[in-house]
């Protein structure tokens, strides 16, 4: 089977997954709570208010009709109107998503090469001092939640040294790169977390490969350790890191929510917190759907890349 058929199959699969995701989102947000209108309005709403809200959200129609309408709208670009902001959701999400993408992109740019480098190095020095140090650092990295890292960095770099601003407050519409300084601390926080997970997994993958028989073959071929690592160990060890990075992107999306809250950064994550705290149903369901779609896409790309790079894959 050719790569294209594989891609087509994988695309179809992703579409199915997204369909399921949308159902989950819809069920959780609109069906599970029972009466969405009273949930939104809280306990002291009058029956009239509730009725108006029901009307506004179209809750009087059966769930499956609402679901289909929602999906149809989502596909056509009609993403609904925010209840609190009284604005169409789509442009809101788009700007915020752009901002978050900058954060995430910078993080990946910094963290992934660094993490792979550290992981590979630790794997090569397995059990020796560098490995132990990296292990300790990454352990602490994974064990401190993002909000702790963020606050620590704020204390150190904003309050002690006064180098960087403690928050990244800015107008959501502003170009994010305009104030580059605002991005440093959030990116640093995200990097700490990303780095830890990715490098630990890369180390494991490296060690697994180094234990393989073909590494012995290469060594006993007398081609020198450098060649053994570069030609034989690394390509095989780095293949799984594709999947590892994709998996970490999921975690990164969660981290974004927390980090954007810590730094008051106007991104998608904080918008989601806003939507949840304010019970802004149309905004919430679209935000979640969009993030899940991005994650799906990342996984799709990773799988295709993996298949493309790996001669062994039976599509």
């Amino acid at each position: 089977m050719s790569l294209w058929v594989f891609v087509a199959r994988r695309l179809l699969f992703s579409a199915l997954v997204l369909l399921m995701v949308s159902m989950v989102v819809f069920v959780v947000v609109q069906v599970l709570p029972g009466d969405v209108a009273s949930m939104i309005l809280g306990t002291d709403a009058t029956p009239e208010d509730v009725a108006t809200m029901r009307e506004k959200l179209g809750l009087n129609r059966p769930a499956h009709v609402r679901y289909l309408e929602w999906i149809a709208g989502a596909v056509q670009g009609d993403w609904g109107t925010s209840l609190r902001l009284n604005q169409p959701v789509a442009p809101l999400i788009m700007t915020r998503m752009g901002n978050s993408a900058v954060l995430a992109g910078l993080t990946l740019l910094v963290a992934v090469p660094l993490a792979i480098g550290l992981g590979v190095y630790a794997g090569l020095r397995r059990g020796r001092l560098p490995d132990r140090i990296i292990a300790l650092v990454t352990l602490i990295g994974t064990s401190l939640p993002e909000f702790v890292w963020g606050n620590l960095l704020i204390i150190v770099f904003a309050f002690w040294f006064k180098w960087l601003p403690p928050s990244s407050l800015m107008d959501p519409g502003d170009p994010v790169f305009a104030q580059f300084k605002l991005l440093i601390l959030p990116v640093a926080t995200l990097t700490m977390v990303m780095l830890a997970y990715t490098s630990r997994m890369t180390r494991t993958s490296m060690i697994e490969v180094l234990e393989k028989n073909f590494i012995r073959t290469a060594r006993l071929k007398g081609i020198g350790e450098r060649q053994v690592i570069l030609r034989h160990a690394l390509p095989n060890a780095l293949l799984p890191t594709i999947t590892i990075v994709a998996m970490n992107i999921g975690w990164l999306m969660g981290s974004l929510v927390v980090v954007e809250t810590v730094f008051s950064f106007p991104g998608l994550g904080r918008m989601m917190v806003f939507a949840v705290s304010n019970r802004d149903v149309p905004m919430l369901q679209m935000t979640v759907l969009v993030t899940a779609a991005i994650y799906c896409l990342a996984n799709l790309l990773a799988d295709v890349l993996y298949a493309y790079m790996n001669p062994r894959v039976r599509y």
Binding site: F147, I155, T291
Partner: protein
């Protein structure tokens, strides 16, 4: 290493090794030849301290965690207030200790439920295979397409903020992940000959899963529980921190960090001690899980994030 190793040298008359209580406990989880892995010991100690806090918390706290000392607001750590006081003059030490009760019990409950269901579902579909496996795993794929924290937030938004709902949300996040791990463990076991021998005998699915497979999956399950516990602590405190998890005035560690942020510059201890508590608990769980994993030489199904 990948070089010549001594081929198995069968002892002439193997005698069962005598085991102490510790080793026997570990042997229960499939960790034999236990020889103090430093990871496991350090991690175990961290966890033990926290468990002790949970158990005896009420006995060692000097003040009720809700008691206001309006004359003593924002006091730095001292002999009177070990971890200082907050803006209401509440004793931070008491609050952190009570927080152990809250955060840890909640995380443990979510882990137990999530991994428990994951074990049950993963082993069943892994063993049974076929249609059932196909359908269940596609549903799990759907759930796995949500980043962990986002799924938890989504569920919280629908259920409303409360302790119980945090448990439910984290449980739902864990189920597909644990299911996937345990399914792959089961796939590795189910074609082994002793399982086939049971099939040839005509044993029921329930018997095969509980008596033949489960004991052999004990090691991976311990690893999974430890890693999930660390994630549960991270998730629940993160939910608390962004304000949609446990609500004030509950002494949740994440919530405490969030509340302390207003005084980050003037009273950093408000943030520091709960953060320390979170970190040590997570480090403990991580180290313990790693240690057990290394002992088992188990690297299968890296626990999904």
């Amino acid at each position: 290493m990948n070089t010549a190793s001594p081929e198995s040298t069968a002892a002439s008359a193997p005698t069962p090794p005598r085991m102490g209580i510790v080793r026997r406990t570990f042997a229960l989880f499939g960790i034999t030849g236990w020889r103090g892995s430093p990871d496991m010991i350090v991690g175990g100690i961290f966890l033990l301290v926290h468990i002790t806090l949970v158990l005896v918390g009420a006995l060692i706290t000097p003040y009720p965690y809700t008691e206001f000392h309006m004359s003593d607001t924002l006091k730095p750590p001292s002999l009177q207030y070990w971890f200082g006081t907050d803006h209401y003059g509440r004793d931070v030490f008491s609050r952190v200790v009570y927080g152990a009760h809250g955060t840890l019990l909640l995380s443990a409950a979510a882990t137990a439920l999530g991994v428990g269901l994951g074990v049950a579902i993963g082993m069943t579909v892994g063993y049974k295979g076929g249609r059932l496996d196909e359908i269940v795993m596609r549903i799990m794929d759907g759930l796995l397409s949500f980043p962990s924290l986002l799924l938890a937030m989504l569920i919280m938004s629908s259920l409303g903020p409360s302790k119980i709902n945090v448990v439910i949300a984290i449980m739902i996040v864990f189920v597909p992940r644990s299911t996937r791990v345990l399914r792959s463990v089961t796939l590795g076991l189910k074609n082994l000959e002793f399982v086939e021998a049971a099939k040839v005998r005509g044993e029921s699915t329930f018997y095969v899963i509980t008596r033949e497979l489960l004991p052999n999956a004990a090691g991976p399950i311990v690893v999974e529980v430890a890693i999930r516990l660390s994630f549960a602590i991270l998730l629940s405190t993160s939910l608390g921190f962004i304000g949609i998890g446990v609500q004030p005035p509950e002494p949740d560690w994440g919530l405490m960090v969030s509340e302390g942020r207003q005084f980050l510059q003037t009273a950093p201890w408000l943030m520091f001690f709960p953060a320390l508590a979170i970190s040590t608990a997570v480090i403990g769980a991580n180290l313990f899980g790693d240690g057990v994993g290394t002992r088992l030489a188990y690297r299968g199904g890296r626990s999904d994030l």
